[in-house]
Symmetry: C2
Subunit: 340 residues, 2 copies
Amino acid sequence: MTEPGQRRSGRAGAATIYDIAERAGVNPSTVSRALNHPGRVSAATEARIRQAADELDFHANPMARALPTGRTRTLALVLADVTNPVVFGLIRGAERAAAAAGYTLVIAESQESGAVEAATVERVAPAVDGIVLATSRLADDEIGAIAARKPVVTVNRGGSASANVSPDVEPGIAALVAHLESLGHRTLAFLAGPANSWTSTRRWDALFAAARRAGLHIVEIGPNAPTVEGGGDAYERCEASGATAVVAYNDLMAMGLIQAARAAGRRVPEDLSIVGFDDIFGAALITPALTTVRADLELAGEHAVTHLLALMGEGAAPADCDELATELVVRDSTGPAPTR
Amino acid sequence: MTEPGQRRSGRAGAATIYDIAERAGVNPSTVSRALNHPGRVSAATEARIRQAADELDFHANPMARALPTGRTRTLALVLADVTNPVVFGLIRGAERAAAAAGYTLVIAESQESGAVEAATVERVAPAVDGIVLATSRLADDEIGAIAARKPVVTVNRGGSASANVSPDVEPGIAALVAHLESLGHRTLAFLAGPANSWTSTRRWDALFAAARRAGLHIVEIGPNAPTVEGGGDAYERCEASGATAVVAYNDLMAMGLIQAARAAGRRVPEDLSIVGFDDIFGAALITPALTTVRADLELAGEHAVTHLLALMGEGAAPADCDELATELVVRDSTGPAPTR
DNA sequence: ACGAGTTTGGCAACCGGTTGACAACGGCGC
DNA sequence: GCGCCGTTGTCAACCGGTTGCCAAACTCGT
């Protein structure tokens, strides 16, 4: 006679709670309880079960667990461009916070396109418990629609549609304007990023306000691609603006601008002062080393994930976001304004 | 009388095949067939089902699907350090190839530690269909153990334990040695990476062989941390070696070395020529711009994923890996050897 | 009009866990 | 010795798909 209830005995695959149950002489559900609800079963049985689990090198199948609970212990981080150095810190911080909470991080790239981003989110959403949208190109209502289905935290993308963590640009920008003013600059140019970039708009607004307060002239040039090439391409328009100091939307553009300016025979900072944002890898390496407004993106990534977990009812929200203040890093790309 | 078989009617969550079945007046299994096995059901019913699915905005639950099939349509990419610019290309290439095949890519970081890497793989393995191990710190037998359970492809990590894709260092190194020799260098130093780095060993072996063939002297300095700091820390030993040209294990170290040399008042390349590997972002930005041996890591990432998919029986293996040949990029950090 | 052969769709088991309901059990006070 | 209560383990349903097997229905030739 054949044994009844014999599930795939001898199969190669991973051990299941049924294997453990058999080995420990208990019911599968008891195994589940012993492993997940400490105290629910007697200490003796729990010990027996744990030992059997160890011997069998048991690892619960995440999919099987996710099915009834609906929780996958996976978070998604959606980025515009993985190769942009700005996001390294974000990735690392988010990865660390996720791993610390026992979550796995899925990284998805939207390639700077709203349409791709929407499709990516659509694809990834059903398999994750929450989503971090970094520098999203999505419209407010699209974000709202996603947030209605899954917990969402945005990074560098304000609006009421969802929770948001963004470095506070004010301190850095205030310091920057003071720095430039003290160097004698009277006319500034802001090299804007992409048209629909919330961050670019925010930086421009803050810079504009600070410049006006200080009585400086300021113009906006853009929109531009937020890349080294985008910065280089805008060089002529910067010169045409008559500004003695150019603040680029990000370090990548500032670097492109430095290269274009030098290629055109202009000296930086003697003829033109250039400033970036983010303090990415390479900002200190380029000649002249870039003056920039730094934000601690690693911390931002960490906060975003902590926030997301809090939204999901896991752990508390991060204390205060004052640590996310930006600061000015003065290097060699800014100098006294040239005398006319 | 209450209707039988009524599953969670009216619940908010995502639509299921049961909802579709009800709406189209067929059995759930028919819905599954219509959606996944074209031709298995009549065109008329399939159309009715597809329309119902569209109206309900149906997306199959990945977990539920993964349970019986065992396939998650997810791949893992395990990296030593996400913030190392070398891996950007890898990530982007792998992401692209995975997305093209309808797979999701999970990125996990091992922080340059074999123990962390093993734990990471352990954690992530049950939820993915295959694993790409990039610049692994794992021992051959550990990799073998993983490969026995899941399809594995390594990048920049040879050995017979698993399939491997690595750029071919020979062409780039041959060109490099020829370049240095023509500039009059007679004594070379290689600034090694971490002790257990397969890539570092490989580069050293190839460089050593090429140098010997050319009749040049060569010494190895190391091991060192594969970072900017690691490169800077090794500066004194480079000087002490008497070499007129230093080849660093990677660009990061070369950059650190350049900074340290300049800080010590040495001119690059007049007093010392410096070469890197990988051609990362920033290599062209630093002053002097770095001469380096470039590998197309983006393509390597793509190949690795294609290879992995082939291992999983999905699509064919990539044609030939000749495209992965390295090439020398000559910039400004190499020059004629100083005359004694 | 009838039987053979082919579609087409339904039934039910299954993947591997989780969990509510419940029964068996043991200890306790009286 | 009895009833009561708290503990511990079992049963069975369920999450949302997939798939082997089978029967009904439909095709077509004769």
